[in-house]
Symmetry: C2
Subunit: 235 residues, 2 copies
């Protein structure tokens, strides 16, 4: 039971706002754009897939809470994390008022250290293809769709796609990740021209161990600064 000073009236409520953060975590795995989902262990939506999330602690910054959720699930740091939107439809969460501050994050698949990854049996944390999502809890479908839209907007401004790639990558791999996120094909020559003329990649003296074809030059990224003040790299 809470007493809450709400809108200039002291009201008595059996529940109060709860505030969570949900983190939409993207990666590229097996040439697919994937999002991390957890299977809910409790009601509501017990057994349903959902975006990883959790309550924000009373003395915890929002960014810190999102980072904590991310670490709990993926054990990664040094990732791109950006506050997305705060969803507060009073009906979004059954029988309770839960406002969620959504974030989205991009991680490299080669940084992943997911304990559940070793097991081949079905676990409660899994990657799902973004274009083959299962039925999701709450408004999480809407949140993921909005994340995708935002990620595409960001991609046009700053090279966050690098976050999805290994530290050394070929231009074809880079282009492929752009195509996966943007959902359309890009022209190879124009893409390479654009990437090389912006000084965000550094040419290496290494080549991919060719998988039965001509080896491709490897690049690493450099000079990454974000146009957005909202997104950050956390190290």
């Amino acid at each position: 039971m809470c007493f809450l000073y709400n809108n200039n009236m002291l009201i008595k409520e059996t529940k109060t706002h709860e505030v969570t953060t949900d983190v939409v975590i993207f990666t590229i795995k097996n040439s697919k754009l994937m999002v991390l989902l957890v299977r809910r262990a409790n009601e509501p939506f017990k057994g349903r897939w959902a975006i990883p999330g959790g309550f924000i602690r009373l003395s915890e910054d929002l960014d810190a809470a999102a980072l904590r959720i991310l670490k709990e699930k993926t054990n990664v740091q040094n990732i791109y994390l950006e506050q997305l939107y705060t969803f507060g439809d009073p009906l979004r969460y059954p029988n309770s008022r839960v406002i969620t501050c959504a974030y989205f994050a991009l991680i490299r698949s080669d940084d992943l250290e997911l304990s559940f990854e070793d097991s081949t049996q079905i676990t409660d944390v899994q990657w799902h293809k973004v274009n083959q999502l299962p039925s999701l809890a709450f408004d999480h479908k809407e949140i993921i769709e909005y994340s995708l839209k935002r990620m595409r907007e960001r991609l046009e401004l700053c090279p966050i796609a690098f976050q999805l790639l290994p530290k050394k990558f070929t231009l074809t791999e880079l282009q492929y990740s752009y195509e996966l996120i943007m959902g359309k094909k890009l022209d190879k020559r124009n893409f390479r021209k654009k990437v090389l003329s912006s000084n965000i990649v550094k040419e290496l003296d290494e080549f991919s161990k060719s998988t039965s074809k001509r080896p491709a030059r490897l690049y690493s990224f450099d000079n990454i600064t974000l146009n957005s003040k909202r997104g950050h790299f956390f190290s």
Copy 2:
């Protein structure tokens, strides 16, 4: 006293998160870009100027709460309103954990019906020039600065500046409002070319009652659709 199920532990807390919304309300008045501030009647920061805001009701959508705050202060509808960012630094609010979901709004100065406007005495609600802000409560300076930045970004994508103008306006007035928001001078010919080639304005057969100079053609706006899914016009 609340019991809160927080991060998988049932914890006992003497306080809980509180969630407010703050609305940064812009207008153009006397050829200046202005923001609406209220003087705080209570501690903390009693007497200090602050962005209008209030607690979100338990069964109230975030957008609705922002709209309510806006109506309480300005009595306008049919405005541009967009969720800005959620600020949740645990130290932003003294002695309490208050997370605020900030919005920004643009209103026409000729739509204004502010009760306090008739009075010439100092009231607790006033317009302030954005480049001459008084000392503000909480992190409200940061919120206003971020609103300005976002408004500039929006302006490049969609014609929200129309929200700040009377229903009939001259192109010079429109250009002036862009210059006020962007904080820089624009080229007259390029500006008019761009505005006229996008079909967002409609030429009228009326002219400004010339104030001792050549009368200028009036325009109204048309075909307003937003590029952003986040911003909305509320009618």
